[in-house]
């Protein structure tokens, strides 16, 4: 790839832009986009989202970090997304390197390219984007003129499959840590030290993980023997955490795209974390403890958001917004203040109780598009195993309320392949679905649709189920087919998630650095957008496993011992391993654990360990 300047890239791209799908994905001149003078900033960062524009732009973390970095006059931050396949083809055909949206500067020209890791199935896109940018994929092949490649986000809590491609990872919440890292890069530019010295320096920042300082050795049977850290870096990397969410940076002037994106609205982060303790939920463990924003802060932010974006809807986001202690006053205040301008409120995640149905009714008014509940498992026994504090009675009362308030479409989410699952639990899904539909019929509602979706359980690192094997693909496939047959009823609609991608997701979620060559192999053989079913090629992956002598079952389907060293044991979320083990025991004994926000601390370890505490505003 030749050395293109921003102006040349722009001139060439303009010629074919009308011919690619959705050209406004590639512009960077949207409302509120920040275009800074390149030469007047000390550090230039490209924030890279390894999926398409409309997915990346919908992500709250992307919005926060883009504006956070740009809020420093000495730093510049631009965006880049994975180009859709038609755009990639054109860029490759014309030899144009991947560029950042705001300036059309090639990625290679930046000091740092930061990827966000939201989903294991986007890993191939990361390597593909580096390749499109003409940046060597492997860290050791990159020279001093190449940017630092860094990555953060939830998957950074087990980033091992990406070791060798990413120079260092940012573990945890980046609001304070990322500017600190950029400051060190600015210093490095002014007074360069060796690459190694720089990495040692950056490894001192809370939550920064430099994988090359950690050496992993293996036993003959493939399990990890030990993970050793070099002198001068922390033996265990502890996540970065925001102490006071109410005061934390939050952008009220987000970029407003020209085209429709997945979440095309204002987003208000009402709280961070969730204390319900569902045992399969990784986010619920990673973002502890619960911290809320105050009503005053949220009202001020809403006002600014409405003025700066012109959106007509504000979504109250968090892992479980119904739990936010000031949820009612926030909704009421927003509707009172901005309702006349046509601004509405939406609540993306609902818990199963009638309190929430009432809330949904307040916010949705005319639009009764369908209400979603997530019982996750079909029987009470299994719901106790996963600690989903929901009973059949809760669900039916809520659904009854919903039918009475005018909804006729109910969506139910379940997981198949959960630990200890039996045939009875599967039949429980059918039972529950029919009970819900019958309730609607009994209440005299016509045109009822009950949509049942099942996904395939993926054991995730840093959860009480991290030691659990994933069930075999074949067996889960049978279960989903069984459900398809049993759920034949004109009122029911069944959809299920593809087992093949979830299997690969499990391999990478629990994988170690020996998977890195496989990622490289897959990208060379055309894999990318693996999360998009039309671009997922299972055969290619299976061939890769065979060719490189990697056994995917070892990662996905092996029950791990408590004594085994986990590939992510040197990375800490703050929730102790001891607590995870206890939770795993309680799961197998079908015992529930209470929510620590209401009654008492259940001892996960994060609050005393990190000097933080649960912060409720209501």
């Amino acid at each position: 790839m030749s050395n293109f300047t921003a102006a040349e890239i722009r001139r060439q791209v303009e010629r074919f832009l009308p011919k690619v799908l959705k050209p406004s994905r590639y512009l960077g001149s949207e409302w509120n986009a920040i275009r800074k003078d390149w030469d007047k900033t000390e550090v230039q960062m490209a924030f890279a989202f390894p999926d398409v524009y409309e997915v990346g732009m919908s992500h709250l973390g992307t919005r926060i970090l883009y504006h956070l970095v740009n809020s420093f006059p000495e730093f510049l931050c631009e965006r880049v997304f994975a180009p859709w396949v038609d755009m990639e083809e054109t860029l490759r055909a014309k030899g144009i390197p991947l560029y950042a949206l705001e300036s059309f500067q090639p990625l290679k020209a930046f000091d740092v390219v930061g990827f966000t890791l939201q989903y294991e199935m986007s890993y191939t896109n990361i390597l593909n984007m580096l390749d499109l940018a003409g940046i060597p994929m492997r860290t050791e092949e990159r020279g001093p003129e190449d940017p630092w490649i860094i990555a953060g986000g939830p998957c950074a809590f087990n980033p091992e499959p990406l070791v060798g491609f990413v120079d260092f990872f940012l573990i945890g919440e980046s609001e304070e840590q990322l500017p600190e890292v950029l400051r060190l890069i600015a210093e490095q530019k002014k007074q360069p030290v060796s690459r190694k010295d720089f990495l040692v320096r950056v490894a001192q920042v809370q939550g920064v993980y430099v994988p090359e300082f950690y050496h992993v050795s293996y036993k003959a049977d493939g399990r990890i023997e030990k993970i050793e850290s070099e002198a001068g870096v922390p033996a265990v990397v502890e996540k970065a955490i925001v102490q006071d969410l109410d005061q934390a940076f939050f952008p009220t002037n987000p970029v407003v795209p020209y085209m429709e994106i997945v979440h095309d609205r204002m987003m208000l982060e009402v709280m961070r974390g969730c204390s319900r303790g569902c045992r399969f939920c990784q986010a619920g463990m990673l973002y502890r403890p619960v911290r809320e924003r105050s009503l005053e802060t949220l009202m001020k932010q809403t006002e600014e958001l409405v003025r700066s974006t012109g959106y007509d809807q504000v979504a109250l986001t968090s892992l479980s917004s119904g739990d936010y202690t000031c949820i009612r006053p926030v909704i009421e205040n927003i509707l009172e203040k901005h309702g006349a301008e046509g601004v509405g409120v939406s609540l993306p995640s609902l818990r199963v109780d009638s309190f929430d149905v009432g809330l949904a009714d307040t916010v949705q008014k005319a639009r009764k598009s369908g209400l979603t509940f997530a019982p996750e498992a079909g029987s009470q026994r299994l719901r106790d195993v996963i600690n989903k504090g929901v009973t059949e009675e809760n669900l039916l009362t809520a659904v009854e309320e919903a039918f009475k308030k005018g909804w006729s479409t109910i969506k139910l989410y379940f997981m198949v392949g959960l630990p200890t699952e039996t045939q009875e639990d599967i039949d429980g899904i059918v039972d529950l679905a029919k009970k819900v539909a019958n309730l609607g019929t009994k209440l005299g509602r016509r045109n009822i649709t009950v949509t049942i979706s099942t996904s395939f359980f993926v054991p995730k690192p840093h959860t009480p189920f991290q030691w659990e094997p994933q069930e075999s693909k074949a067996s889960v496939d049978l279960k989903q087919r069984y459900l398809r047959d049993k759920l034949r009823d004109r009122r029911l609609k069944y959809s299920y998630h593809d087992v093949k991608t979830s299997y690969l997701e499990a391999v990478f979620a629990k994988g170690d650095r020996r998977l890195a060559p496989l990622l490289e192999w897959a990208v060379k053989h055309g894999c990318r957008f693996d999360g998009w079913s039309e671009h997922f090629h299972e055969e290619v992956w299976m061939e890769g496993f065979k060719e490189l002598g990697i056994d995917p079952h070892f990662y996905a389907n092996r029950a791990v011992d408590y004594d085994d060293i986990l590939p992510w044991d040197h990375l800490e979320s703050g929730v102790t391993k001891q607590f995870m083990m206890e939770e795993h025991h309680r799961a197998l004994q079908e015992t529930k654990t209470i929510d620590c926000r209401y009654d008492q601390c259940t001892g996960c370890g994060i609050c005393p360990g990190r000097g933080v505490q649960i912060e409720l505003k209501g």
Binding site: S24, S29, M259, G310, G342, A366
Partner: protein
């Protein structure tokens, strides 16, 4: 109060898809703190309506949109406040208040003019160019194959052409085209050039074609008017 606004859609704004324009205007007006009227019913939408779609990538020098406001306002103030909130490339040129019962844009617009700049693939003489254009215009019917999902369909594009002129400027040919538009469809400017290349052997480098829509009109008995003056 119903407004008819003339605006440009140039520079980066030329890549905004027609369907996305409503969103762009709607949000700009809301940012400006101006209250729009909404449709009744299930899912109320602000009342904004455009004229003929402009192809993605084609610049528009003078396009139109109708917007309904909840209250009467000073026209200059509306223009000023909304302009501040619009992305680069969309510039508001003129506004007028419509009479009650004025017909919507789509019902009054029936013509459009385009300027196209095409590099010559081989140098040609001015006379040869005029001959070719004259010969093409002299044809009563011009069949053009359009490709769609259903496969090629043959269309007679000649009836849509009201005017076509060409001139050599440097190594480019500049065409001025005026076409009729209506509910039954129209002709795309690039189809006219493709046909000229094919039927009259004009050496046009269509890969590097640049099109600009210079205006959309209300045309009646040989007279062109702007939908703003007409209303």
């Amino acid at each position: 109060m119903r407004l008819r606004i003339a605006y440009t859609k140039i520079e980066d704004a030329r890549y905004i898809a027609h369907l996305d324009l409503t969103r762009v205007f709607e949000r700009a007006i809301r940012r400006a703190g101006i209250h729009m009227s909404y449709s009744e019913g299930f899912n109320p939408r602000p009342k904004i309506s455009f004229g003929f779609a402009l192809a993605v990538g084609t610049e528009g020098e003078r396009e139109y949109v109708d917007v309904d406001l909840e209250q009467d306002m000073d026209l200059g103030e509306v223009l000023g406040r909304v302009q501040e909130q619009l992305p680069p490339g969309i510039r508001l040129l003129q506004v007028s208040a419509l009479n009650q019962g004025a017909k919507p844009l789509m019902a009054v617009l029936n013509a459009a003019s385009y300027r196209m700049r095409v590099p010559m693939a081989l140098p040609i003489q001015a006379e040869r160019l005029q001959e070719a254009v004259g010969a093409w215009l002299a044809r009563e019917h011009v069949t053009f194959s359009r490709y769609s999902k259903k496969g090629p369909t043959d269309k007679d594009i000649r009836p849509w052409i009201k005017q076509l002129e060409a001139e050599i400027r440097g190594d480019e040919i500049v065409f001025e085209l005026e076409v009729e538009m209506g509910n039954a469809g129209s002709v795309r400017p690039e189809e006219v050039l493709a046909s000229l290349r094919e039927l009259e052997n004009l050496p046009l480098d269509l890969e590097a074609l640049q099109i600009k829509r210079t205006g959309v009109h209300v045309s009646y008995q040989g007279e062109k008017k702007s939908p703003i003056d007409e209303a």
